[in-house]
Symmetry: C2
């Protein structure tokens, strides 16, 4: 089965929104072994949206549109689908009643423009929207199917999972995928280590450069998930053998999650003291469910006197400055003592865009304290934006901790 | 002039990567008044990539491809462009020398597969890549132009700005845009207030629902930027009049940035104490350059005893629990005292997926302390993911502060 995605919205073509919806849908389809060969974006223009949907219906078995189901005049996906099907949509009384009820339950009067969202093309059935006012559409035309989903990600994901998927009867998952995550090695060095593995068609092995390191994906199809996993097995072993020293996680592993696991294995706790990253390291850690088993919290020592409040010796700050290896190490030591943890991570540096204390933007020091002692690492991130410097520092800090805590 | 974007990469069709590159490029083109009608994504498949590029060259004046310029076997954008042009690429000796030099300067030997990146189609000139090994291509074919850019965002943005743009001779900026950001009002209520404004073709007025509130965009074209701004003026005034009470910022304003400005106007400082958000609020604040003028830092009180360490009275925690309005207010008061700031924000709640202290996931309390007193707000975010709860809480906290600090 071949699927095609059509995202509708002028904001996508003006660069005002990054289209994450079709990436999410593509992942859902890939997990079920449904191939996506094309993914289009068109603006809120009836002629071009209609042409895009018509082209998609000609070459793909399943067409999924996202967006353009709102109540305002520039929401015209319903009209475009109907035009591509040579049909005329009309207001569905039951849908209209449902919409009025939705507003009533919220103690509001329905704006009249929302009636538009109750329109339905003759060959379409509606898909309920549990989280908003825009119903979706499901159209069957011979062997072809079309699904229209709303643009807000929560509404789209919920409608796809709860309403569209059960009605579509897609094949069960037959694509097995395993992603290996590495750090500290470049993409072409990874490719050299993998050699001929990268040319095999099945199982396929591919490399991707990511913000948190190079990733290697092994994929194989099979008549069942078990069958596909068996087919991938030899390639997985070969990848693991070739990259054992640089792999830190697999699949959806996040560094903070792996850090949690490794701290938990040791019955150890962690705290943080952040200047440069201003809470971003704590945020990365606390995005992991269950992190409270190992993470105690910490301090955001943005003003210099807060470093002292959290126990950094003033003489270290005076002698070496806030942006120095010595201060990073003193911050990590102080955090472990002040916040009562076995391990502590610290960050200090110049996020930019301006210099600080004579250090150029992008100068970063990460500190790590633990039972084995204190260390620090200097990163030179001068080519990056302010946010880029901060994000890369969080990855560097977590990696410093993971290197200290090898998997048991 | 009409431009079309073609992103190449199977990872985009597998949902493993969100394609932010073409959104960035679309924004760059929109700012210059270049229309983008189509934006396609295709996989690493020579036939389909060639067909996509050929279709784009037929209907658009400027075609920009992104990605697929790497050294590995699945990087085949160069081959697809050459095939679409009916040409045969060959290794360019100067490019090959440049590549070998790039590795030499880094004390490394060039992997032989990288030679592929020195290939050039006869009608293409190469675009230098200051940040990586993949040179870009610039092709002119009669009135049509094609630019091939690498996939890593930093390399792509740099090459577009420094190398492609100066060679393309695009028209000067002629599209004026102003985005108004609102909070606490739904999209159809905004649309009702704006009424007929939304139907005008020029200046155009459109609404978008975003994580940090509904946005209203006014856009107008003109023969010059001044001319376009003048054309937008009446619609801007009308939008401002209709939404004055709910607008918190314009264009690229971020809430944290507006908060910085309003604190600075008052010569006031801010600190934070975060449980639920674990540093995400501090991270949002410190992503703003110059925030150190007003933000002193704060505490991540993930473990309960850290709340006490930062000055929250243990009896409040005992009587009301960690997730309560009383604790949120006590946290804000304690933060202002402990971290010595005029204002303080606090967050506490249940991020999920599990319940806590009998409170369901999504129960959130935000506290605010300032010279006028202490208050708290309860949010019910039970329909959201863990990350969704945390992100919405940060927006809610900043909005609580902005309401307390109206623009002067």
């Amino acid at each position: 089965m071949l699927a095609e995605l059509v995202a509708v919205g002028t904001e996508l073509l003006l660069g005002e929104v990054v289209d994450s919806n079709t990436a999410w849908l593509a992942g859902q389809l890939a997990n079920r072994g449904v191939d996506v060969y094309w993914s289009q974006r068109v603006g809120d223009n009836l002629g071009r949206a209609t042409a895009a949907i018509r082209q998609a219906l000609q070459r793909s078995d399943l067409v999924i549109t996202v967006g353009g189901l709102g109540p305002t005049e520039d929401d015209l996906t319903r009209e475009a689908i109907a035009a591509a099907l040579d049909e005329t949509p009309a207001v569905d009384p039951a849908l209209e009643e449902g919409l009025r009820g939705w507003f009533e339950r919220r103690g509001a009067r329905m704006p009249e423009m929302n009636v538009k969202q109750a329109r339905l093309s003759p060959s379409a059935t509606s898909l309920p929207n549990a989280l908003g006012t825009a119903p979706g559409w499901l159209v069957r035309r011979g062997q072809r199917m079309l699904v229209a989903l709303p643009g807000p990600p929560r509404e789209m994901e919920r409608m796809w999972t709860a309403e569209a998927l059960p009605r579509l009867g897609l094949p069960k998952a037959t694509l097995f995928r395993r992603t290996y995550k590495t750090f500290g090695i470049g993409e072409s060095s990874v490719a050299e280590r993998l050699g001929a593995l990268l040319s095999a068609a099945t199982p396929s092995v591919a490399t991707y450069a990511r913000a948190d390191g190079v990733q290697v994906r092994v994929a194989a199809k099979g008549t069942s998930m078990d069958d596909a996993a068996r087919a991938a097995e030899p390639a997985m072993r070969a990848v693991e053998d070739a990259l054992r020293d640089v792999i830190w996680g697999v699949d959806d592993d996040r560094m903070a999650e792996v850090a949690r696991r490794r701290l938990l294995e040791r019955g150890a706790t962690l705290s943080t003291m952040e200047s440069l990253t201003g809470g971003l390291l704590g945020a990365a850690l606390t995005s992991v469910p269950g992190i409270s088993d190992v993470y105690r919290g910490g301090g955001i020592s943005y003003a210099v006197d807060l470093k002292a409040l959290f126990g950094v010796p003033p003489e270290v700050l005076e002698r070496h400055g806030a942006v120095s290896a010595e201060t990073a190490e003193a911050m990590a030591r102080a955090a472990a003592a002040h916040f009562k943890s076995d391990y502590a991570l610290s960050t200090t540096g110049v996020a930019g865009p301006s210099d600080l204390e004579g250090r150029p933007a992008g100068t970063v020091f990460i500190g790590l304290h633990g039972p084995q002692g204190t260390e620090s690492e200097r990163l030179d991130l001068s080519n990056r934006t302010r946010d880029g410097v901060r994000e890369r520092t969080v990855v560097g800090a977590l990696m410093l901790l993971l290197r200290r805590l090898p998997g048991l």
